[in-house]
Amino acid sequence: MPDPRNQTSALDVIADDPTSRKKFLRMVGGSGGVAAMAVLLGACGSDNNSSSTSTPAAATTGTAAKSSASDMKGDLDILNYALTLEFLETDFYNKVIDAGLFKGATADLLKGFGESEQAHVDALKATITKLGGTPVTAPKTKFDVSDATAVAKLAATVENLGAAAYLEQAPKIKNAEVLAAALSIHSVEARHAATLNTLVKKSITPDGAFGKPAKMADVLAAVKPFIVA
C-alpha cells in the first residue's frame, strides 16, 4: 500500500513533470509558446487542398488529420472572433491599470490577468497567420474606468462572458491543435472569472456545477457598447 505521506509530493512531481511540461510547451504554453503553437499548426495549412475529399465517415471523426478548406475557414473565423475578445480584454486591463484604481495584491492580480490576455492575443494572431488567415485588427475601445467597484464588476462580467464564449466555440473547432489551444485558454478565462467573482462577492460558480456557453451573436451584442463605432 502506498504511503499516504508521499501522496502530495507524488502529485507535485507530476504537476511539474518536465516531460509533460515540455510536451505541452511545444504545443502552446509558456512565454515562448506563440511560435511553437504556430509551428505545430503548419501541417494543417499545408493540407488545405482546394477540393474537399472528406467522406461522410471522415467528417464524423472531426479531428481527422486532413482538414477540408471549409473546416479551416471555420476555425479561422472562430480564432478571429476569439482574437477580438482578447483584444478587448487586453485593452480593458491596460486602461484599468493606467487608471490606478487598485493597489497592492489586487493591482498585481489584474496586471497579471492583463498580461495573460496579451499572451492570448499574441498566440491567436500567430496561429491565424500560420493557418493562412488574416488577423483582425484591434478594435478601438471605450471603458469607463472611473470607479473601482464598477470596474471590478465589469471585469467579472467580461471574464465570465469570455469563458462562456470559448465554451460555446470549442466543440465547433475542427483542428485538434487549435482545439487544444482554445481549451488551454478557456480554463484560464474561467480562473480569471472565478477570481473576479470573489472580488465582487459573487458565487465563483454562478451557473452551478456545469459552465454555460454563450453564443457568438449574444457575446458580440454584449461587448458592442465597449467598441467605438
Binding site: A15, A57, T60
Partner: protein
C-alpha cells in the same frame, strides 16, 4: 436512487453519435454487441461509429474516476475541522463533483457503456492545511486532465459537456489557490496532461 431515465444534466441529454440519434445508435449497437455472429455483417458506418463511441466511453470513464476521487476527497474534507472559505468550498465543491459523477454515469450508460467502478481512496488529509494543499493539486490536475482529453473526444456533444465540467474545475482551482494565497491563474495557458500522467499522479490516492 436516481432513476436512470431521469435527465442528469441538460448538457448531456442531447447526445448524438455520428449523425444518428441516440436511440437508433443504441438499437444498432445493442444488435451489434449482443449478437456476436452478426457483428461482421453490420455496415462500415455503424462499426466506425461504435469504435468511436468506445473510445469516447473510455475517456468518459477516465473522467468519472477523477470525479469519484474529487467527490470522495471533498466529502472526506467535510469531516475535518474546517473554517471559513475552506469549509464552504469543501461542501460546495463536493456537491459540484457529485453532479459531475452523476452526469458522467448517466452519459456512459446512455452510450451503451459500463460506468467504471468507484475505487476506494486514501487522501491522508488531517487538517485544513493538508486539505487545501492537496485540493489545489487535485483541481489543477483535473483541469489539465480534461484539457488533455478534450481533443481526443470524437463526439462533439461530449466535448461540449466536458468543457462545461472543466470550466468548473478551473473555477474551483482558482478559488482554492486564492485561499492558499497562491496565484489563481499562474500561467497564460493551462497545461494539459495525458491520461498516463494523470493516472500516475492519482495512483497513490487509490487503495489497491
Amino acid at each position: 436512487m436516481r432513476n436512470k431515465n431521469t435527465p442528469v444534466a441538460p448538457e448531456l441529454e442531447q447526445i448524438h453519435v455520428g449523425s444518428m440519434t441516440r436511440s437508433s445508435f443504441l438499437l444498432k449497437s445493442a444488435l451489434t454487441v449482443g449478437t456476436v455472429a452478426g457483428a461482421g455483417a453490420v455496415g462500415p458506418f455503424v462499426s466506425s461509429a461504435l469504435a468511436q463511441a468506445n473510445g469516447d466511453i473510455d475517456i468518459l470513464n477516465f473522467a468519472l474516476t477523477l470525479e469519484y476521487l474529487e467527490t470522495r476527497f471533498y466529502k472526506t474534507a467535510m469531516g475535518l475541522n474546517l473554517t471559513g472559505d475552506a469549509k464552504k468550498y469543501a461542501k460546495d465543491f463536493a456537491a459540484d463533483e457529485q453532479e459531475h459523477v452523476n452526469a458522467l454515469v448517466g452519459t456512459i450508460k446512455k452510450l451503451g457503456g459500463t460506468p467504471a467502478a468507484k475505487p476506494t481512496f486514501q487522501f491522508g488529509i488531517t487538517d485544513q492545511a493538508s486539505f487545501l494543499k492537496l485540493a489545489q493539486t487535485l483541481e489543477d490536475t483535473g483541469v489539465s486532465a480534461y484539457n488533455g482529453a478534450g481533443p481526443l473526444l470524437k463526439n462533439k456533444d461530449l466535448l461540449a459537456a466536458a468543457g462545461s465540467i472543466v470550466q468548473i474545475e478551473a473555477r474551483h482551482a482558482a478559488a482554492i489557490r486564492l485561499v492558499n494565497g497562491a496565484n489563481p491563474s499562474p500561467d497564460a495557458f493551462d497545461k494539459s496532461l495525458d491520461k498516463n500522467a494523470v493516472l500516475k499522479a492519482v495512483t497513490p490516492l487509490i487503495k489497491m
